[in-house]
């Protein structure tokens, strides 16, 4: 009874102030600025936020690094594109279908890779994405090869409405993942991350939760991928490439793994940084990737996870919010 009440009530006081602020700011921005260009940049930023957050729920909470996230992003993007261009499914049908497929495949891959740890898990995920990438070229008749599929139906009438649709999804994904990560599922994942043996000897079916996280991660990435394809009205092999996979990893890591808020911040701020660097377009990519290295060096676990934040309760509260089992809530009886 208590559990259901918690799902439907909204513990505002427990949320991360920063997370809420950023989401709100994003929502207000197009109303304040008339610049369509900025809106299009924001569209990409929130899409990357979806990618980074869905990546985090698996890797941040189990510490098994998924290096092939492009598999779900591009895979669902292509699927949605094909459903749309070949079978004339409208985007609002194609995208969920593609995402569901991605989720189910995530279930399968999660199951197949259960026994793999560390570098092996990482490389197998990379390999899966690589295979899909190569297939995109080999099956060029369906996928359009190098050029991809163009002329996909757009999401809504214009960029601003597109943005608000995607923004709503991003907000939804954010809260879904926050609740998930704070629920029994998230706590169990953290336990698995800490020590799978002890989790097992606490009676937990660790395999189930790992697979579930993989599936959810894949599903949400698929939603993002589908939205991306229709926002750009085009899907090409870049969305299956290693570059996308690595970029998502970097955005989430620099933001702060295992927090959901961290990847959100990482995606938004690094996308902004990328745009600011357009001032020096010729060197932009080089400076950007160079800065990413500096950021990882300075904050190996991400900015939200900095030791400074961990030790400073106010900073921690401001960035991460209040988690149920981290502080007394005043309802425990004391002996």
């Amino acid at each position: 009874m208590g559990a259901t009440a918690k799902i439907f009530s909204f513990p505002l006081s427990r949320q991360s102030p920063v997370g809420l602020l950023v989401l709100l700011a994003l929502g207000i921005f197009p109303l304040v600025s008339g610049n369509i260009l900025y809106v299009e940049i924001l569209i990409l930023a929130v899409l990357y936020a979806i990618f980074a957050m869905s990546w985090d729920i698996l890797t941040g909470y189990t510490h098994e690094v998924n290096f092939g996230f492009a598999f779900f992003i591009g895979g669902a993007g292509y699927l949605s594109g094909v459903l749309n261009s070949l079978f004339f499914f409208p985007p609002l049908m194609a995208i969920p279908l593609a995402a569901l497929t991605a989720g189910m495949i995530g279930l399968l891959i999660g199951y197949l890779t259960l026994r793999l740890k560390g570098p092996y898990f990482a490389m197998v995920t990379l390999a899966f994405a690589g295979i899909l990438y190569k297939l995109a070229f080999i099956l060029y008749k369906i996928t359009g090869g190098e050029e991809g599929i163009s002329g996909l139906k757009s999401l809504t009438a214009g960029p601003v409405t597109d943005f608000y649709l995607i923004w709503t999804v991003t907000v939804g994904v954010y809260f879904l993942l926050i609740f998930y990560s704070r629920s029994k599922h998230g706590i169990i994942l953290k336990a698995i991350r800490a020590d799978e043996d002890v989790a097992q000897s606490s009676g937990i079916n660790t395999a189930y939760y790992k697979i579930e996280a993989f599936a959810i991660s894949g599903f949400l990435a698929g939603i993002g991928g589908g939205l991306y394809a229709h926002a750009q009205m085009h899907i090409g092999p870049t969305m299956l490439s290693g570059t996308i996979s690595v970029l998502v990893v970097l955005l989430a890591m620099i933001g702060g793994m295992g927090t959901i808020v961290g990847p959100l911040l990482g995606a938004i701020f690094l996308s902004a940084l990328n745009e600011i660097l357009r001032a020096v377009e010729a060197y932009r990519i080089v400076i950007y990737t160079g800065l990413l290295i500096v950021f990882i060096y300075l904050a190996p676990e991400g900015f939200v996870n900095l030791p400074f934040v961990k030790r400073n309760p106010r900073a921690k509260r401001f960035l991460l919010g209040k988690e149920e089992y981290h502080e007394p809530s005043g309802s425990e009886k004391h002996f």
Binding site: H63, V65, F67, L112, T113, R115, L116, K117, G118, P119, Y120, A122, M123, V124, L126, A127, F128, G130, I131, K134, F137, I138, G242, T243, V246, V249, L250, M253, M257, A282, Y283, I285, V286, T289, G290, L292, I293, I296, Y297, P300
Partner: protein
Amino acid sequence: MDILIIGMVRGALYSLIAVGFVLVFSVGGILNLAHGTFYMLGAYFTFIFYSLVFNSPGGVLLLSSVLLAAASVSALACLVYYLLLKRKIDSHIYTMVMTLALALFVSEVMSLLFGVSGTSVPSLVEGHLSISGIKIINQQLIILPIAALILPGLWMFLKKTRTGQSIDAVSQQRTGALLMGINVERATLITSGLSAGLAALAGALIAPVSSVVPEMWLFPLIKAFAIAILGGMGSLTGSIIASFVLGYAEILTSFLIDEQLTEMISLVVIVFVLIFKPSGIMGYKQG
């Protein structure tokens, strides 16, 4: 017949790349995702030394360029280990992501400096050989004796010299070696340099006959990993054998089935071995 020789050349090339990769994994416990980058820089640095620094033709200068390239990449790898990796080498995530970020960065730098279409490096040995009526490029051929010299040399280094033996000890059992007073950090440093040097040499040697482009770091890395898991992550002989297996598999696929599928092989190998037979490889290295 040509398949036999071409396959052998490819196997030899791969073994130069893979052996270092496996060594770093068993000694440092890390998956150095910048390994392919070292291979790439071997090619690019050769070009830089030959065309920009020396700026005059000549076989000797070319050879020196190759050697300088390998040496400088080696030094670079040591620097990377010392400055960036050593501080958090126990974290798989950190080392993998950091080396990957480096790979990306270097790739972009090369793209900026030399363009997306890459550069070209002249051959050390010109011309080609005709063996039973098939043309084989000499430049590719020399990889064979070079590998044949280096690999046993490496083996001797590891088994006979003091430094080599300490590296060998660490690769078997990190904690045990630590307890024996072996300087694990130094061993890892030397191994990083050595491994990168080999990869760079491979890159320099093959550069004249293949494309030197900013993306050339990715697939050698993937192949190195495929070879490593095929041959056993800790075994040097295993990886040499696996290099040839992969080399031949690729050549055969290319000739007999479809050239497009060659790149798929290493990917499929990784997926199949790790999913269906992880125990054979997994149990080997307990980090």
